[in-house]
Structures are given as C-alpha cells and as structure tokens.
C-alpha cells in the first residue's frame, strides 16, 4: 500500500500540507523533549546531558523496527522508499561542521526554530547565522560542487554495504542503542556530581 505519495495515493498537491503538519509535530516533539534549551543540546558534548542522543536514537530505532514490520505486513514497499544518495567525503565534512555548529551555538537547525518560538534571543542570532551560512554556501556552490558531489556511493544502505540483512542490522543498532542509553546514563550520573549548577528534572 505505502509509501503513499510515490504510489499516487496522496497526490503531490498535498505535499505542503503534509510538510506543515509534520513540521508542527516535529517542532512540538523537539520542544516537549526540552531541545529548545541549548544546555540540553550542548550537554551531549560535556557529558552532563544525553537527552538529544536518547530522543533521536529512539526515533531512529522505532522507525527502523517499524519499517521492517510494515514491510513484513506488506503495508509499505521498501523498493519505493527514497534513499538519499551517499556522497561520502562531503557528508563527513558536513557532519563535522554540523557538530561544530551544534556545540558552538547550542542548537541544531530544527531546535533553533523551536527556541525562537519560545522567544530565545540567542536562537534568533543563531538563525541569522544559519541564513548567512545558507547564502554563502549557495553563492560558493559553483566552486565547491565538485567536492560536494565527489565519492558518490549511490543510494546505498548500510546493510547493503556490509552485506547483512536489514533485520540483523536493525538488531545490532538496537543493541548498540540500548548500550548507549544505559552507558550515557552512567556517564551522566558521574558527571553531574561535579557539575552543581545544572539541575536535571
């Protein structure tokens, strides 16, 4: 039956409506998870708060397991699901820049908007920088496009690269995720003893 849009069950005219609804839902979850506070986000790097890791990894694991069960039930056709092509080197560099921005600004693009929604001034400054960055990137794109498109691996998934089944890879991810959840909780407990000024819950 699914995916609904590529199969024409939901036509393209609904794209913006769906995007708006998903955006609202995403923003609500970000705010509800406390991501509007840059302390929660930057806490990952200082080891006193791993809520970002937990929330996003939970979303990833639920989506992975859910998609496989949906596929099994025949509710979604995995061949039609869009897989983003992998440009290895530019993606590695992009992740590093993203991480730096994360720890410097204390927001990721999505959370900066939720922070604006609750009236944070640093988020407004951050968003200004974000637009400046988009503008510079777009202007400079002709010069960096060669690098941008280099190391194209195509639309591959990790399980394809490793040559293992999706089920096995999902299971490994779940185990890794659970280890990360419990491990970061231990780290948090240790670190928070020394950091007095931050109160969690």
């Amino acid at each position: 039956m699914g995916p609904l849009i590529p199969q024409g069950i939901i036509t393209g005219e609904w794209d913006f409506v769906i995007a708006l609804l998903l955006g609202i839902a995403f923003g609500f979850i970000l705010e509800a998870s406390g991501f509007s506070s840059s302390r929660n986000i930057a806490g990952v790097f200082y080891g006193y708060n791993f809520v970002v890791l937990r929330v996003f990894l939970t979303a990833v694991l639920v989506a992975m397991i859910g998609l496989l069960y949906f596929d099994y039930m025949g509710w979604i056709e995995m061949d039609l699901v869009y897989v983003l092509p992998t440009y290895l080197s530019s993606m590695v560099l992009g992740s590093v820049i993203m991480g730096l921005g994360f720890v410097l600004g204390g927001f990721c693009p999505g959370t900066s908007y939720t922070a604006i929604a609750i009236g944070k001034i640093d988020a407004m400054v951050f968003t200004g920088g974000l637009f400046l960055g988009i503008f510079l990137f777009s202007e400079a794109f002709p010069w960096i496009s060669d690098f941008y498109y280099s190391d194209n691996l195509g639309s591959v998934t990790i399980s394809e690269v490793l040559g293992i089944s999706n089920e096995l890879f999902t299971f490994i991810m779940v185990v890794m995720g659970l280890v990360a959840f419990w491990g970061t909780w231990l780290i948090e407990k240790k670190v928070r003893k020394t950091i007095k000024h931050y109160k969690f819950e």
Partner: protein, 204 residues
C-alpha cells in the same frame, strides 16, 4: 532507576529480535485471476502488423520490440531493432530492464502469436504495464508486409491506404518492390523479335 526503562529496554529487544523469528512471507501481490481475465479479453493489448511497421518506419522511440522466439531463430531473422528475450527466460533478472521502462511500449512477437501471448501473460503477472502482442506474429508480418495483396477494386479506400503502407513497408524492409515478390513473376525473357525487314517493295 525507573523500572519503566527496564520494560522499554526489554520491549525494544523483543521487537528487534522478533524480526528474526517471523515466518517467511511473500508480499508480492500478483494479478488476480479476475483482473487477469479482464486484461486478456481486452482487444487493445494487440498491435497489428501495420501499426508496428508504421512505428518502425517512423522510428518511433517509444516502441520496444521483443522477440520471444529461441535465440537461433532470432539470429536468423527478426524485425529491425528487436531484442531477444526467449520465452523461457523472461523472468530472469537480467531481462527485467527491458520490460519496466516508463513510457516505452513493449511489443512481444513470435512466429505466430501464441508464444508472444504467453509472454504477455507472464509479463502481466509480473506486474508490467504497456505491454502488447503483435497480432499474427511474424507469419502475418510476412503475409502483410512482404507479400501484400492488392485489394479488390471495389474495396473501401482504407484498404487501399493500408495496401500503400504495406507496399512502402515492403520496400523499406526487404528492399524489393512488392510486385516482384508476388511469386507469379513471368519467367523467361520476352524476346523481341526483330521484324524482318520488309521486302523491299516496289522499286526495281
């Protein structure tokens, strides 16, 4: 530590582990018998030899001729631009690229239209659209394109138009004029005898 976290951990592990113990299941939904029947009785799934010939001559880029005869027969004679997918290998992965091309009309043909029809049904069951069968196959092709028969003089004009197309197609495909192929060519060379010079008349 909240006990709920332990429950959630167990739940995630159980769900992920459950993926391994799921029994095999095939989700491919083939064309059901009723749907297949309605597809088969549609006359529009046939392409006439005239339509195919016209498309080849006009170099229509959307036509894709698929010869489902065995490879030896394909190599000895086939239609221009045809690809060979023998009937017994139509489900092989390698050939699937030929079938599911958007905007292309795949036309199956064989010597008659039986094998082509079978190929059509198989391809239909495999879920392909825009597939057709050349009505009458190559036998009918030869009858119509290589040895076209002139319609009766009382035949409707459309018949004559068709005949003209076929004459042109014959010239296009075989390089021969259709009349020369009619098989009733008169044998022997017409000898023109020289008229014997008339005996000189008169004079002296």
């Amino acid at each position: 530590m909240n006990r709920n976290y332990i429950y959630l951990t167990i739940l995630l592990l159980a769900l992920a582990g459950g993926l391994f113990v799921l029994p095999e299941r095939n989700n491919e939904q083939g064309t059901g018998p009723e749907e297949l029947m309605w597809d088969i009785v549609q006359p529009t799934r046939y392409a006439t030899t005239d339509q195919v010939a016209r498309m080849i001559i006009e170099k229509d880029p959307t036509i894709e001729l698929i010869d489902v005869r065995p490879t030896e027969e394909y190599e000895s004679f086939t239609l221009p631009g045809a690809v060979n997918i023998p009937l017994d290998s139509i489900i092989i992965e390698h050939y699937q690229d030929y079938l599911g091309v958007d905007g292309m009309n795949a036309v199956f043909f064989s010597n008659d239209d039986i094998k082509a029809d079978q190929a059509w049904v198989i391809a239909r069951r495999m879920g392909y659209d825009n597939i057709y069968v050349m009505k009458g196959g190559l036998n009918h092709w030869v009858e119509t394109m290589i040895r076209p028969v002139k319609p009766d003089e009382t035949a409707p004009e459309a018949e004559f138009e068709k005949y003209n197309l076929r004459k042109g197609a014959c010239l296009y495909f075989s390089g021969a004029k259709p009349d020369a192929n009619a098989g009733v060519q008169k044998s022997g060379v017409v000898v023109k005898r020289k008229k014997k010079a008339a005996v000189a008349e008169g004079g002296c």
